[in-house]
Symmetry: C2
Subunit: 204 residues, 2 copies
């Protein structure tokens, strides 16, 4: 073969990422293979490595796309709400829903760690911070009396907690003594942290 030019570099990248997403979604992460991705888009491994530097590089870009999808859904949901509290709850609902609907894709985001030669300096970091920023922004609006550090702290604590509920629920590692719903657990966390946040005041 040779320069077939059926697809551009960028087109192949997109095709590969989409194929990888579909494989993870239907067969789980452990079924994701460079050769399988390549053959699913009508190419061979060599081509894949011509377009991604690593297998991990492919995974990283797939994850970035997943995060973008989550953020997009959050922004859409947030737009419909008037109060900061409503927006925070809407964001959490999107997070929980996405994790429930796409458990494998969601897990890969957090459980995939690129070995030594990490080509992920900012690609993911920036996207993570976007989510935290969205939460923090609403905390800020909720109570302008807090200093930025306190706002960011509360937002981080809450969001990490929500994340923890999702992870344990998804991996079946939640306490089974009482078959709780993720939504209710998340509600409890939101109620708790928001109330505590309103009660607390800056020392300044």
């Amino acid at each position: 073969m040779g320069r077939r030019s059926d697809h551009s570099r960028e087109e192949i990248r997109k095709m590969a990422i989409d194929a990888a997403t579909k494989i993870v979604e239907t067969e789980g992460f452990q079924a994701l293979t460079a050769r399988k991705v390549a053959s699913n888009i009508g190419y061979t491994v060599g081509t894949l490595y011509h377009v991604f530097r690593n297998f991990d590089d492919l995974v990283i870009h797939m994850n970035a796309q997943t995060i973008d999808e989550i953020v997009a859904r959050m922004q859409k949901a947030v737009g419909k709400k008037r109060s900061p509290e409503g927006r925070i709850r809407a964001m959490a609902a999107v997070y929980v829903d996405f994790a429930t609907e796409h458990p494998d894709r969601w897990r890969v985001i957090f459980e995939h760690q690129a070995p030594p030669g990490v080509p992920t300096p900012e690609l993911m970091g920036v996207r993570r911070d976007v989510v935290f920023e969205m939460v923090a922004e609403n905390f800020r609006e909720l109570s302008p009396n807090h200093i930025p550090q306190e706002v960011a702290h509360a937002a981080t604590a809450l969001w990490s907690g929500i994340h923890g509920i999702c992870i344990l629920a998804l991996t079946g590692k939640l306490y089974l003594g009482g078959a709780f719903s993720m939504s209710k657990l998340v509600d409890t966390l939101i109620d708790s942290v928001l109330n505590e946040f309103r009660r607390t005041q800056s020392a300044d």
Copy 2:
């Protein structure tokens, strides 16, 4: 070779688990290999498979031992505290400390998923529930007015949240806008959930 009988089946299992633990601790999970474990204890792969049915089986037993270690530390820490709240905080501190001191071992517990033929029915489940039970027990003692469901619910929400903070912090996926300490984030979550718990009352 042949029946050398230098070590019993059970001794080899223990040696293998300890060797695996050491490898994970020093080189990370991706460096854990059946052949490496075997050679580190003076045997070959074949023997390892004579004693564990899977590579995953070995990992699972390693994880069980790690959880046992965490639980033991928790029980020790809990023994020194008088109040339920003090005990909950002590447990959380142990959890955070262990995750910080042994990040790779801690992560394997939660990120390792045994493929299809899972030989992990109760081995892990029981151990997880032990931790949740310890937390729930102190919630119960904290406020006898709540019905068991509410107690378990609050305990689950708090502990999942703490777990989330540990995971995100360990994997470097926490919001960097404010370089928070895990302990303070955990404190915020504990304060929030405990206060909310005290405020809430059973409808009965």
